[in-house]
C-alpha cells in the first residue's frame, strides 16, 4: 500500500515535470526554428528596401513596406485604443455605477477578448462596406484598435485596481473631484501598469494578420496615406511563404524573425519599464 502510494506520487510528479518541460521546450523550439531559418536569410537590403520588380520571383528588394506598414497600423491603433480604453477603465474602477451595468460591461469585454481576429476582420470589412470605405490604412487601424481595446482595458483595470484605496480617498478628502483624482493621482500611480497594458496590446496588434487581411489590404508601396492600402509584416510572411520559390520563402523566414524580435522586444521592454517605474510608486 505504501509502495503503491509512493509510486503514484513519483509517477505523477515526473509526468508533471515532463509536461512543464514540454511546454517550455515548445517555446524554445519555436524561437530556435525561427532564428535558425531566418538569420541566414536576413540582410540589410531586406530591412531598408521596398519590393522591386520581380521581388516575388526571387529578385532583389526588401520588406520595408511591411515593417513600416505594421508599425503605422499598430501605432495608430494603439493611440486610438488608448483614447477609448483609458476612460473606460477609469470609469469602471473609480466611478459609481450600478452593479448590473458594470457586470454587463465586464462580460462584454471578456467576450470581446475571446472573439477570433478573423471575425474582427469580417466585422471591420462589413462596417467599411456600410461606410463606403475601401481597404486602407485607416480601416486597418480602426479594426486593430477594436482588437486592442479589450486587452488594454483588462490590463489597465488591473493596474488601477492595485492602487491603495487610501491614496484615492485622501485625494478626495483634499477636495479633489473624481476627474482631478483620476488625472493627477490614479494615472500617475498606475503608470507602469498602464504602460505594460498598452505595450501588451500593441504586441498583439503587430502580430495579427487575419483582421488586417480584409481591412488594410496589401501593397508594395510605403504607407503614405491613411486612405490607401498598407502592407503588414504577418501578411508579408504569409504571402512570401505561399510562393513556390525557395529564395522567396527564405525571406518569409527572415521576415518572421523580424516580427518575432519586434513582438518579444515589446514584451521585454514592458517588463523592464514596469520594474523601473515601480520605484517611484507609493505603496
Amino acid at each position: 500500500m505504501k509502495i503503491k502510494r509512493k509510486l503514484t506520487e513519483f509517477l505523477v510528479n515526473s509526468l508533471m515535470v515532463l509536461s512543464t518541460l514540454f511546454v517550455v521546450g515548445c517555446l524554445l523550439l519555436i524561437l530556435g526554428t525561427v532564428i535558425r531559418r531566418g538569420l541566414p536569410a536576413l540582410d540589410l537590403a531586406m530591412l531598408t528596401q521596398i519590393p522591386q520588380g520581380g521581388y516575388y520571383l526571387g529578385k532583389e528588394g526588401g520588406i520595408l513596406n511591411a515593417i513600416l506598414g505594421s508599425l503605422c497600423l499598430a501605432g495608430g491603433a494603439t493611440v486610438f485604443s488608448i483614447l477609448f480604453s483609458l476612460p473606460v477603465s477609469i470609469y469602471l474602477q473609480l466611478y459609481p455605477s450600478s452593479p448590473t451595468t458594470r457586470n454587463w460591461i465586464h462580460l462584454s469585454l471578456d467576450v470581446l477578448w475571446g472573439i477570433p481576429s478573423i471575425v474582427y476582420g469580417a466585422f471591420g470589412f462589413s462596417l467599411m462596406l456600410f461606410l463606403g470605405m475601401r481597404a486602407s490604412l485607416l480601416g486597418g487601424i480602426i479594426v486593430l484598435a477594436l482588437l486592442e481595446f479589450p486587452i488594454m482595458v483588462r490590463g489597465m483595470e488591473e493596474a488601477i485596481h492595485m492602487i491603495p484605496v487610501e491614496l484615492i480617498e485622501s485625494s478626495y478628502a483634499l477636495g479633489a473631484t473624481r476627474l482631478e483624482t483620476s488625472l493627477r493621482v490614479v494615472i500617475k500611480q498606475a503608470f507602469p501598469g498602464l504602460v505594460t497594458a498598452v505595450l501588451l496590446a500593441t504586441g498583439r496588434a503587430i502580430g495579427d494578420a487575419a483582421s488586417v487581411l480584409f481591412t488594410s489590404g496589401y501593397t508594395d508601396q510605403l504607407p503614405y496615406s491613411l486612405l490607401r492600402p498598407a502592407a503588414s509584416l504577418p501578411l508579408a510572411i504569409f504571402f512570401q511563404l505561399n510562393t513556390p520559390f525557395p529564395a522567396v520563402q527564405d525571406r518569409a523566414y527572415a521576415a518572421a524573425l523580424v516580427l518575432t524580435v519586434i513582438v518579444l522586444g515589446l514584451s521585454i521592454i514592458s517588463r523592464l519599464l514596469s520594474a523601473r517605474f515601480n520605484k517611484n510608486i507609493i505603496r
Binding site: R5, T8, E9, V12, N13, M16, S19, T20, V23, V24, C26, L27, L29, I30, T33, V34, R37, F84, P87, V88, Y91, L92, Y95, S97, T101, W104, I105, S108, V111, L112, W113, G114, I115, P116, I118, V119, G121, A122, F123, F125, S126, T177, E180, G203, R204, G207, D208, A210, P234, I237, F238, L241, A252, Y253, A256, L259, T260, V263, L264, S267
Partner: protein
C-alpha cells in the same frame, strides 16, 4: 490664472471674491460632470459592441439565409459558389476535427503544467516560469504557422504518419491517406501549442484560489501530496478548470492564420487524422479575394463568420459565468 490669484490673495478685489470662488467651484464640478458623462457614454458603447458585431454580421449574411434553408447550409457538403451551392458541412467538420485533435493533444499537458505550477513549485520558480508562458501567448499566430510548416509537417510526413499507419492503419481514423504532412493532425498539434498558455494561465489561477485550509485538512488525515491534489484541490476547482479548457477550446476554434498554413485546405469532410481539412476560419481568410465577384459568396462568408462568432460567444459566456462564480464565492 485670475481666479487662482483671487484665492491666494483674498484682499485684492474683495468684492469679486465670493463670485469668483463660486466660479472656480462651478467650472471644476462642471468639468467633472462633463467627463463623467462622456466616460459613461464610452462605457455603454463597450457594452453594446458585442450585439453590434452580431447584428452587422447578420445583416451582411441575410441574403444567403433568405435564399438557402439553414439545414442545407449546415448539412450539405457541396460547396460550389459559382453555381450557388453553399454547403458548410466540410468546413464545420474541418473546424471541429482540428479543434478536437488540438484539445486531445493540448489539454493533458497544460493541466499537468498548471497543477505543477500552482501546487508543487516554489513560488519563486513559479514567478520565473509564468513570464515564459506569457511569452508563448504573445507569439503571433503566423510564427506558429511557420513553425508548423518547418517542423511539424515534415515530422508528420516522414516519421509519424508511416509509424502510425503501420500500427493502427487498420482503422480508417489513422490511415495514411495523404502523401503530404499537411492535414488535421498538423493543425491540431500547432493549435495545441497555441492553447497551452491560455489553459495554463486560467487553470493555475483557479487552482490557487482553493483555500489552504482544505489542503491542510487533507494532509492532517494522512493523504499524500498527490492524493490531496487529485481528491481535494482538483475536485474543488473542477468547474474552474473546465472553464479554462472551454476558453482554450474557443481560442482554438477561432484561430486562423496558423491553421490555414498547415491544414491543407481541401474542401472535404476529413475521415482520417492525416486527411487535409478546410476549417471555417481558413475558408474566410482564403476567399477574401474572389468573394465580391460571385453573387452571394460574400454573404456566405459573413455567415461563416457569424457561426464562428455565435459559437465563441456561447463558450466564452459559459466559461466566464463559471469563473465569476468562483471569484465571488
Amino acid at each position: 490664472m485670475k481666479p487662482v490669484k483671487i484665492i491666494l490673495l483674498p484682499w485684492i478685489g474683495k468684492k469679486q471674491k465670493p463670485a469668483s470662488r463660486d466660479l472656480v467651484r462651478r467650472t471644476r464640478s462642471s468639468r467633472d460632470r462633463a467627463s463623467r458623462v462622456s466616460m459613461r457614454i464610452l462605457a455603454v458603447f463597450t457594452g453594446v459592441l458585442v450585439p453590434a458585431f452580431v447584428i452587422i454580421l447578420f445583416l451582411r449574411a441575410r441574403p444567403i439565409l433568405e435564399s438557402h434553408s439553414l439545414l442545407t447550409l449546415l448539412f450539405s457538403s457541396s460547396w460550389r459558389p459559382t453555381q450557388g451551392e453553399f454547403g458548410f458541412l466540410p468546413f464545420i467538420t474541418g473546424t471541429l476535427a482540428v479543434t478536437m485533435v488540438a484539445m486531445i493533444i493540448g489539454v493533458p499537458p497544460s493541466l499537468l503544467t498548471a497543477i505543477y505550477l500552482a501546487e508543487y513549485l516554489h513560488p519563486r520558480i513559479r514567478s520565473l516560469l509564468m513570464p515564459i508562458i506569457d511569452l508563448l501567448a504573445g507569439i503571433p499566430s503566423v510564427i506558429y504557422g511557420i513553425w508548423g510548416v518547418l517542423t511539424i509537417v515534415p515530422f508528420i510526413q516522414h516519421t509519424l504518419m508511416p509509424a502510425v499507419n503501420g500500427w493502427l492503419g487498420f482503422s480508417p481514423l489513422f490511415r495514411a491517406t495523404n502523401p503530404t504532412g499537411y492535414g488535421v493532425l498538423a493543425g491540431g498539434i500547432v493549435l495545441a501549442v497555441m492553447v497551452f498558455p491560455i489553459i495554463i494561465a486560467v487553470a493555475e489561477e483557479v487552482i490557487r484560489t482553493v483555500p489552504l485550509g482544505l489542503r491542510e485538512a487533507s494532509w492532517a488525515l494522512g493523504a499524500s501530496k498527490w492524493e490531496t491534489t487529485s481528491r481535494v484541490v482538483l475536485r474543488k476547482s473542477f468547474p474552474g478548470v473546465m472553464a479554462a479548457v472551454l476558453l482554450g477550446f474557443s481560442r482554438a476554434f477561432g484561430e486562423t492564420m496558423a491553421v490555414l498554413m498547415v491544414v491543407g485546405n481541401v474542401a472535404q469532410v476529413p475521415r482520417s487524422i492525416f486527411d487535409p481539412a478546410y476549417p471555417l476560419t481558413a475558408l474566410i481568410a482564403n476567399s477574401y479575394g474572389e468573394m465580391m465577384s460571385i453573387p452571394l459568396y460574400d454573404a456566405a462568408l459573413m455567415g461563416a463568420a457569424l457561426i464562428l462568432l455565435l459559437v465563441v460567444i456561447l463558450f466564452n459566456l459559459a466559461s466566464r459565468l463559471v469563473l465569476e462564480r468562483i471569484k465571488y464565492s
